[in-house]
Amino acid sequence: MSSMLKKAAVVSIPTVRQALIRSNPVLANALLAKRSYNSKGGVEMTVRDALNSALEEEMIADEKVYLLGEEVGQYNGAYKVSKGLLDKFGPKRVIDTPITESGFCGLAVGSAFAGLKPVCEFMTWNFAMQAIDQIVNSAAKTHYMSGGNVDCPITFRGPNGAASGVAAQHSQCFAAWYGSVPGLKVVSPWNSEDAKGLLKAAIRDPNPVVVLENELMYGISFPMSEAALSKDFVVEIGKAKIEKEGSDITIVAHSRSVGFALEAAELLEKQGVCKAEVINLRSIRPLDIDTIIKSVKKTNRLVTVEGGWPQYGVGSEICAQIMESEAFDHLDAPVVRVTGADIPTPYAANLESFAFPDTEVIARVVQRTLNKKIGA
């Protein structure tokens, strides 16, 4: 149940960490060491560069695609995602706007109604709350309300979720917010392939798509397959990806949490505890529940992981849908959600890191879930 996780995230982690350091210093060190997803050889790309190449490729492919937002042009973006695009495409295609999220977002929505394909960057998703009416009430609903006569092929993007040391108003996840809105598609990339493929798919999609990036992932390098380097590469919206196959338990995560889920799975496998299957959600809406159901029918256990708050969150939705599906009968233990703590994000670095799921807490919850039995 969630209350346990809220606790886990806020309070009990030091015990886990310290217990681990005591009982298995080697593993603990491995865990606490710098994380790297790099494989030997092959092409690697940061998430930032993957997003940048997605923008560039789609802007080359379609004249109608343009980027706008605060500081996206001359400054190359607050997080340098749009680096070089102003030089390549000029001020008609890369537009620096005044500081008015409702203004530039509304402009973007209107230009989409008029046939353009805007990519509307929010400096962070926190600031998009100034413009949420345009996203939820206009972009998401106008196709429906106009009897299908008005299209809104728009991409909203920017960093989402907890950042680092920027306090509560700059550090929160909007997946559950936008994920609840009919008419929107919502994607949440984890690695560079996700970032490139999902952003390209979002830009090409005739519907409004919300792309929830993560600032802490921008600088991280991941291997890129040959296919992913192609300008034709897209990741289908609405399909989850099994990042690691397993047989004993399913861990579903999105965004930055996918990396922690994978580490936890690897750790537990090395320890001989279990073989966990890790599903990278990729899309928040539509939600690929079929992939999760299939996996749960195989593993009989499910843990969800996200950086957002527990109440009414992505994990809650997965739990509900599993409950309503045939997978319910296959569950050997109750589904458990690992989430961000149910509090405004702390500014203090130590509390901030306790407030969000990490490898250790996931590993612990997985272990607990393995030991549980329904009715027991």
């Binding site: 030091p14 500081e71 400054y75 500081i99 999220e101 108003q169 509090i343 405004p344």
Partner: protein, 442 residues
Amino acid sequence: MYSRISARALARVIPSQAVKASPALATSSRTFATSAMSLDAKKKERVKVHFPGALDSHFSQVLEIREKMEPIDTFRVMDTDGKVLDSSLEPKVTEEFATKIYKDMLTLNVMDLILYEAQRQGRISFYMTNAGEEAYIGSAAALDAEDEIFGQYREAGTLLYRGFTLDQFMNQCYSNDMDLGKGRQMPVHYGSKALHFQTISSPLATQLPQASGAAYAIKRSGRKNCVMCYFGEGAASEGDFHAALNIAATTSAPVIFFCRNNGFAISTPASEQYKGDGIASRGVGYGMHTIRVDGNDVWAVYKATQEARKIAVEQHKPVLIEAMTYRVGHHSTSDDSSAYRSKKEVEDWKRHDNPMVRMRKWLESKGWWDESRENAHKSTQRTAVLKAFAAAEKRKKPQVSEMFNDVYDKLTPNLLEQKKELEELIKKYPEHYDTSNYAKEN
């Protein structure tokens, strides 16, 4: 779209006798207007409209396409050398009052330098300086100590003026146990209930409509006070700015909206932030008393705020002040402004129109300041800031139990449960829960 066509262009298509200039059109149509009728005759002829939406308008047979109004002048008292330009404007202030303002400006400078450096050394996580805009302290000097201040983030000087201590600044930047905000915000997000300074909030422009609301509350209470709301010209692009002005005007809220127009919003220059005559022109549009002032001139800022405050408090009306200035420092410690403006431009501003220099020269002309007082004040303040800084750095973090407080007025059941569990764990495993860095629980 009519509004897109300049009056000049229109004159080419419409015979000139049809395009008569109204006096207000002066700037855009003076050159080609012809009028057979005398102004007096015209005035007599004018008939007021009855439309409820613009009761002061008159009917006219002249198609008026207005692009501009006369730009609003920038009020100043001193020139860039600190000389008072019109003797009737000579500030009637005491030595003590004038030197307090200047000393606070100097102290602000010293504090900014040290904290900026501290961030560079990784000792605090973030900082924002006030360099170039110090003269806004003149606005704080014109307020009553119980006027409520809503700031954006670059107004630490107003707090300094009100008596926020160096220790209090440092404690906030260090998030220690004496931080009034309990370490819950990034540096420079100060707040002080005692000094009537609302806690800084990161999302831009949200303080503006809130200031209107606080002013409404003051009006209801019958207090002879007003609200002072600071913001940047960049934040003035947000919808909240427009909402705030309109709601303040329609509710007759005693609030002063004080725009620090420092030419930049991070990298976006004012020239790309808006068209039209700055921020001030919008005040008139909302039916509001409006002043534009030289924001590098302490006495002009002081005088403007004094007058604005009178209107706000005595007439219960909002006032917009636009203070023209230049952001000399980087936007914040996350910014390097050489990426979008030349170092020379910044140096030129520092040299040719420096609010510190202007005030200092004025004080010197009065015989109230000199080199030795300057050096003495700087050095004592440097020592004081460094002392407060070192003390804040050494202080403990807030009490462990504070991490549970203030999400709501009372702890929720889950937080209560967690708090209890943590207390038990700390008691049981003191060796694993080193709380020596945290303030003692009381």
